[in-house]
Symmetry: D2
Amino acid sequence: MTLKMDVGALHVFLREAFPQVADDFKVDAVGENTITMRLRVDDRHLRPGGTVSGPSMFALADVAAYLVILAHIGPQALAVTTNCSIDFMRKPAAGVDMICEGRLLKLGRALAVTDVLIFSEGEAAPVARANLTYSIPPAAISVG
Amino acid sequence: MTLKMDVGALHVFLREAFPQVADDFKVDAVGENTITMRLRVDDRHLRPGGTVSGPSMFALADVAAYLVILAHIGPQALAVTTNCSIDFMRKPAAGVDMICEGRLLKLGRALAVTDVLIFSEGEAAPVARANLTYSIPPAAISVG
Amino acid sequence: MTLKMDVGALHVFLREAFPQVADDFKVDAVGENTITMRLRVDDRHLRPGGTVSGPSMFALADVAAYLVILAHIGPQALAVTTNCSIDFMRKPAAGVDMICEGRLLKLGRALAVTDVLIFSEGEAAPVARANLTYSIPPAAISVG
Amino acid sequence: MTLKMDVGALHVFLREAFPQVADDFKVDAVGENTITMRLRVDDRHLRPGGTVSGPSMFALADVAAYLVILAHIGPQALAVTTNCSIDFMRKPAAGVDMICEGRLLKLGRALAVTDVLIFSEGEAAPVARANLTYSIPPAAISVG
């Protein structure tokens, strides 16, 4: 499947659609059914002790799932998360970005299913895993 | 089971342990195996169009699960979320707080299981549902 | 919302659509957005030690979710489970049926969201909890 | 990490611990943090129309998660599933086995986290994905 949006187009979309959080995230790479993103960790993402907060990791997983879908269907601000299940497995390392590796497992007429692994940059063992389902508005796929 | 922390004690704990977000949340009521909390919705919780963001609802569910557990075991900053599954079902109403009704379904030696329903204040149909599991440090239950 | 199927109609549907498993399950009650079902526990549902197996509890949750949806939209064999998250919290009691209390939380155009609690009959503490999402074929709601 | 059980040892364990279902499953391969299993699809796993049932896929995911953990800690019949989230994404193909690719993402003191993809044999697109958490009895890791 040809990608409809590359890294640059995803960044433009992110800035227009989600100006409040666009600076938090960066797409490192996008390809067929895959995406690599990072959360630029900042004080506002931390809990006491220097740990990245759960909601910040949820947000990273959510935006990675969203953007890997949009890369395949084009800019559709109306796609919405319907379900996310997330496991927090290890304490994030302090002082480094968080990296998210996402996969598009299904792109259906109405639902898209993704999963992600989240790492502290430079570490091999994942900090968290998540799966997310998005509902896609009816016209999105055919219009693309 | 006697509660080990009431609404006042939970607010004190929240302010000490999570000063960055303590102002976002308020415990309306806590009882045996139940809690009612609210997210004081502010611009920083919103997406374009005035919708409360997914990560903000995740954060509300997470703090409600945490505090209903602490109400039963006492202040244990080391309890951590291990799993959350959340369904986003309806668009939140604009301009009102979000209310979260939480239940403590299991308080085990090592794991506590909770579920929550999230509503826009004044609406009967839930906006989101979630279940969360917390890992409890070994000494927490007996020490209380 | 008026129910489109009562207990008797649900049993007829179950026997026609799922003859292999219809004898395993019984609807005790169905009402607006709620259902009570039981798994008639038999040797084939057990693991060594007399514990009801995880797949048997999953099956009970799944059929309860399915039937509470059908009670509201009419017999639609094509509705399919898209997601289930289940927590196993306690060991089931031996030698008794398992009871499932299900709720219909959302009945949308394309998706229905439910949650359930599963008990050993006669016990107050839940053995398992689950949430399930079903995808509903396009014509189902309006046709009813 | 050295494996404590190979394919042969896992089959022996499965037959002793779960005699009712041991014939349903076969371990094709096990390695560091990975397992490949199959469900030998039989009439009792099918729904009308020849589709493999949801509970049968849940059972496959559950046993794959269990066995990849045991391969790393040794035979521990007391490890129990605490959580599973599963997405059903595509209709299984008729008349072929189901293949499950499992990963061990975390092996902690008390909890092990896994995820799996399930395929119809010979198909590239996954039919289902799942993540499962197991609770491990206290002595299991050190004893091994």
